[in-house]
Symmetry: C2
Subunit: 109 residues, 2 copies
């Protein structure tokens, strides 16, 4: 009677960016960067609210939405997110170059 | 003489979240959600600026930073980003359920 939950799917940034592109790109391109940025800000506000007083499930949903809208803007701006994080963080902290950051707290990049 | 660029690394959300956790978690936990959220907002502002007037390379760097700070908050809040996007977008658009969204433009989730 007990059902095992499905194992989590650890999607890659490239796969997620393609999913969002396939799902929404035509609308996103029509709306443009400015209009899409306003949607991102709305979702950031909802994330803030969920972090202050929401349930864990609400927070999970808001993180997904912020990530989706950030990805949408990346699609419109022609930025590859996997490439972006690999360039900036793939060789260690961009501040100190270490994989366990030793930057001063005020300097965390 | 010509060097081929290395192939892009399509990191998974889980791998990236672990990278950021390993690199920064001790500081992040000490700073907490509120202080970390302010860093995220600073980076969102820099992304806005880069989208308005920056170079492509500057935009790439700012997308990476926003993603890193969003991931940092997820670490502090105990949210698994891969699980979050899989729950919300893994079965299609959360508004219409389709993999090519047919929601009304005003309703895009």
């Amino acid at each position: 009677m007990n059902q095992e939950p499905a194992p989590p799917v650890d999607v890659s940034l490239g796969q997620f960016q393609k999913l969002i592109r396939d799902m929404y790109f035509e609308k996103d391109q029509t709306r443009g960067v400015e209009g899409t940025f306003m949607w991102l800000m709305e979702e950031v506000g909802e994330l803030s609210s969920a972090l202050r007083g929401g349930t864990h499930e609400e927070r999970v949903g808001e993180f997904a939405d912020v990530l989706a809208w950030l990805t949408t803007i990346a699609n419109v701006a022609g930025v590859d997110l996997a490439d972006a994080v690999n360039q900036k963080y793939g060789s260690g902290c961009p501040g100190c170059g270490q994989f366990l950051c030793v930057c001063d707290d005020a300097e965390k990049p």
